[in-house]
């Protein structure tokens, strides 16, 4: 085939398939690096005194073998009431050291759909030497012996993701210690959050990280389990990176200084009041910067993802607006979004202080676009979600091992609000033709089956990937819980309560108990949802017990499910028959002189799940008028009687407040004999018919 013809055909094929490569957008003028890591006190107020350490990290990347020679100089303060004789270290990178680590054993080399094949290189962190600066009284001796400090014993635990430094002398309460830790980190070929892929390096959880010392002197440090994320104290970082000159780097904090030194590039990064330091490097990165509300937004994307940076920027702006209003000012001066390149998808969707990795926006194939399919899951939602973690774990630094719902679940809840504020109350995440699924729909769809396997409030280790359900339980059931509570008590009231929590516990380690106590304190233990019958004060108020609600939702597997059991329209009891008169004589009433009995409707509602929560009941009568009642649902079955009326249909939870409810279809019932289109069978039958037509055309004429 002639070359020109071949080229024309190829071009036509590419155009026909909609496979045109999107253009790489030109970068707007670069926003300068902020001079300081934190925004000014006039914006973010006074920071609480919760800093535990000052860390200086030196890291030299050998990009050919993906190895980092590192040194951590740590000044650690004992802020507890007890003396400390050892310091546990998290060595998260060792999860990827062998098949028999706790992490690898649980996941069997598979994480979020990305598989670690045998060809992928392992990773590890190896602590080579730990010393501490000699105390004043021994400094002279130490200098004389030619050592810079006193060597300390370091041992790994049974699982290599934990280690322990034994101190030669305790650190008293209020005291501090200067540690010098030399280590080597071999990055794995990325499939779960961290590692390398070609020239791309995502360097997260890469250095030895001390555990968290609680006020009573007990350490919180955990083996890195499959579903677990991380837990650390706040501190300041000065990080000195030694890199190949072509590397473009995104990192936690701000870049203070960069020097090209022969064949290497040296950068000095600084971050204030963060609990982790991560960085990414790739010579292919294109840089896009913008500014929003005084915060520098920096995106680093390889060319194949550059076309989508504007979508991520808009998502980031929306997230900043909503999160700042709901949970207080974002305290840092910068946020960096890393777009992992093709092949490094496993690094996507992970949060670190002032930096996160997002996922690529999916280019929907044209046949799907033709039938009206579009989605906001990929890319946009990831950016909203990962930025949300700057609050729910970055600022409210809960223990992700012990209570993962506090960051993942609360964050998912906040993401729904971001999208609703940006795109309207019914913001869709997925659209297929005229059909839409909103964030709330997805949250609701997840609270069946898997979400009922285990309670929410458990540590990460309790969620076995073989059993499944972690995402539905921790992310979406928590979100459903908070959205349901917000719907019941009112958005403004709930948002105020959560804002109180966010402001009260920023830069600390709040627990679930702290969150629940704040909600109960600000919302009240019990909340009146209104009269059971608004027209009849004698029916009394129906109340919601906030503590009981949270307890059921978070610490039980009770299913919230209510249904309309039946609608009975019949005549009221008449008076025909024999009755005694005033004189005690039996007299027959044959009905010839009395009115026929009036109609009477009885609605029977049922709580089919164990979860107790008040439910609104909307009753529509035969004359098309309707009333709403509130049913406490304390008892399994409730009856509502309407003398003189005939009921046409009944809907439970008509406003859709109970996102925790597992099954909604049986919330609706039409009275027997009432001819009402069911609204489901027609549409589905027509779609099935349309599919059959398409199949006929495809295989027939």
């Amino acid at each position: 085939m002639p070359f020109a013809t071949s080229r024309r055909l190829r071009l036509a094929a590419i155009l026909a398939l909609g496979g045109c490569a999107p253009e790489v957008p030109a970068a707007p003028p670069r926003i300068a690096e902020p001079a300081v890591g934190l925004r000014g006190p006039e914006t973010i107020g006074r920071l609480p005194d919760t800093k535990v350490f000052d860390a200086t990290l030196h890291a030299r990347l050998d990009e050919a073998v993906h190895r980092i020679d590192g040194r951590l100089q740590l000044r650690w303060h004992n802020r507890s009431a007890a003396a400390v004789d050892h310091i546990p270290l998290h060595l998260y990178m060792n999860a990827f050291r062998a098949e028999d680590t706790a992490w690898m054993e649980a996941g069997r080399g598979r994480h979020r759909g990305v598989e670690r094949d045998d060809a992928r290189a392992w990773g590890y962190v190896d602590v080579r030497r730990v010393t501490r600066n000699a105390p004043a009284d021994a400094r002279a001796a130490a200098l004389e012996s030619g050592t810079s400090g006193i060597e300390l014993a370091f041992v790994e635990d049974d699982d290599p993701t934990l280690g322990r430094i034994d101190l030669d002398r305790p650190v008293a309460p209020g005291g501090s210690i200067d540690l010098d830790i030399e280590f080597v980190t071999q990055l794995p070929e990325v499939f779960a959050r961290t590692g390398w892929s070609g020239p791309f390096h995502m360097v997260g959880q890469w250095y030895p990280k001390p555990g968290v010392l609680l006020a009573d002197g007990t350490w919180k440090a955990h083996v890195f389990h499959f579903h677990s994320e991380f837990f650390s104290d706040f501190g300041d970082f000065d990080v000195h990176l030694d890199l190949p000159p072509q590397m473009i780097v995104g990192a936690t904090g701000v870049l203070l200084d960069e020097v090209l030194d022969g064949e290497r590039k040296r950068q000095h990064w600084h971050a204030d009041m963060v609990h982790d330091f991560a960085w990414a490097a790739d010579p292919r990165f294109l840089e896009y910067t913008a500014e929003h509300d005084g915060i520098r937004i920096r995106q680093l994307a390889t060319p194949e993802h550059a076309w989508s940076v504007d979508a991520h920027l808009q998502a980031q702006r929306a997230a900043l607006d909503t999160m700042q209003r709901n949970y207080g000012q974002y305290p840092w001066s910068t946020i960096t979004i890393i777009h992992p390149p093709k092949g490094a998808e496993g690094a996507g969707g992970m949060e670190y202080p002032t930096l996160f990795t997002t996922s690529a926006v999916w280019q929907v194939p044209w046949p799907a676009r033709v039938v009206g399919f579009s989605e906001r899951f990929s890319g946009v939602f990831t950016t909203v979600h990962e930025f949300g973690h700057q609050y729910f774990q970055g600022l409210l630094a809960s223990d992700e091992f012990s209570q993962p719902w506090l960051d993942e679940g609360m964050n998912t809840f906040s993401n729904v609000l971001v999208l609703e504020e940006r795109d309207g109350p019914d913001a869709w995440l997925l659209r297929a033709g005229g059909l839409e699924m909103s964030g709330r729909d997805f949250v609701r769809a997840a609270v069946r089956d898997n979400a009922l396997l285990q309670p929410v409030d458990q540590d990460a280790e309790s969620f076995d990937p073989v059993v499944g359900g972690y995402g539905d339980i921790v992310y979406r059931k928590t979100a459903a819980t908070m959205l349901t509570l917000r719907n019941l008590v009112g958005a403004e009231r709930f948002d105020d309560a959560l804002r109180t929590y966010a402001l009260r516990y920023r830069f600390t380690h709040p627990t679930g108990a702290d969150l629940e106590a704040t909600l109960v304190e600000t919302l009240g233990q019990t909340i009146s949802l209104g009269q059971a019958d608004a027209d009849d004060p004698s029916t009394g108020a129906v109340t919601l017990d906030v503590g009981e609600f949270l307890d059921q939702a978070l610490r039980t597997t009770r299913e919230l499910d209510v249904r309309v059991h039946s609608i009975v329209n019949r005549d009221a009891a008449g008076e025909r028959g024999w009755h005694r008169n005033e004189s005690g004589v039996l007299i027959e009433d044959d009905g010839s002189e009395s009115e026929p009995p009036p109609p009477e409707a009885t609605v029977v509602v049922q709580r089919s799940g164990e979860f107790v929560v008040p439910v609104e009941v909307e009753i529509t009568f035969a004359d098309d008028t309707s009333v709403t009642r509130i049913w406490s649902a304390r008892r399994r079955v409730g009856t509502l009687v309407f003398p003189g009326r005939r009921v046409a249909r009944v809907r439970l939870d008509p406003a859709g407040k109970l996102l925790l409810e597992s099954h909604r279809l049986d919330n609706h019932r039409v009275a027997p004999g009432m001819r009402v289109k069911d609204g489901l069978s027609g549409g589905l039958a027509n779609l099935a018919e349309a599919g059959a037509w398409a199949a006929f055309v495809g295989f027939g004429p």
Binding site: A16, L17, G19, P367, V370, V371, G372, D426, L430, A432, G433, G434, L435, E436, M437, S438, D441, R444, A445, R448, D449, R563, R649, R651, P654, G656, H663, R664, L665, D666, N667, H668, R669, V670, V676, K677, D678, G679, L680, S681, G682, G683, L684, A685, N686, L687, A688, E689, A690, G691, A692, W693, A694, A695, F696, V697, G698, F699, G700, P701
Partner: protein, 257 residues
């Protein structure tokens, strides 16, 4: 082309008959789903506007409804393929200008078996080619794989039209695989005709996709655009058959394969 269209319009009763067959098949597929939904143990009324969420819940609770839909689609595809094979000989004769029912019936009866045989050979070859592409996963990009699959389906259909026309109108030996091969060769030798046949098939697909998209966009409320698209696609199929008959007899060597 205009002659072909006029021939097809002249055979409108055939088209309507074919359309009715397709409609009945599609309606049965829809009726199965309708019955499945109504048999689900609840009395639904449209739950606000979150119809997709409601469908999702329904299908999670009653996956048999999805099975019913898929069975309907599969049955529709099979019935489409077999009715086309049954109708094609008579339609080809009718499109050739023969209006006497007895003559059409006689030709239909005498060529049905070789026409079915050439259909079978074509489908065997088509499946073999499709399998060859599908089992080469990883060799080609997803886009190229889709393009190859579509190209195989389009070329096979056009070749089948040519083969059928040659068997019915020119007594080509349909029972021989060589007839099928000769139809592909004839298709390749006349790129212009091939482009027209493939274009008509693509247009039929496009109408089907458009009709389905419109039904989707209306959340299943509007089915008539899909039915109309089906009728147009059937008409385009008939025009394609008529144009394929212009290919004339095939150069098929005698003897068994």
């Amino acid at each position: 082309m205009s002659t072909a269209v006029r021939s097809v319009i002249g055979a409108w009763r055939w088209l309507i008959g074919w359309f009715v067959v397709a409609w009945i098949v599609a309606m049965i597929a829809g009726a199965g789903v309708r019955a499945g939904v109504r048999a689900a143990p609840a009395e639904f009324v449209r739950p606000d506007d979150r119809i997709l969420a409601a469908w999702l819940e329904l299908l999670q609770l009653h996956p048999d409804i999805a099975v019913a839909a898929m069975s309907g689609w599969l049955a529709s595809a099979l019935i489409a393929a077999s009715t086309t094979a049954l109708i094609a000989p008579g339609l080809l004769v009718r499109l050739g200008g023969e209006t006497r029912l007895s003559a059409v019936a006689a030709r239909w009866a005498s060529t049905l078996w070789p026409q079915l045989a050439t259909t079978l050979w074509n489908w065997l070859l088509r499946v073999a080619l499709l399998l060859a592409v599908v089992t080469s996963v990883g060799e080609f990009s997803a886009g190229l794989t889709a393009a190859l699959l579509a190209a195989i389906l389009l070329a096979s259909t056009a070749a089948l039209d040519i083969g059928r026309a040659a068997v019915v109108l020119h007594d080509a030996p349909g029972t021989s695989m060589r007839c099928t091969v000769a139809a592909f060769v004839a298709l390749a030798r006349h790129p212009k005709r091939a482009a027209v046949l493939v274009g008509l098939q693509l247009a039929a697909w496009a109408f089907a996709v458009l009709g389905f998209a419109l039904t989707m966009r209306s959340a299943g409320e509007d089915i008539w655009p899909m039915r109309l698209a089906g009728l147009i696609a059937i008409g385009l199929g008939a025009v394609r058959l008529r144009l394929a008959s212009d290919a004339g007899p095939l150069a098929v060597a005698t003897g068994n394969p």
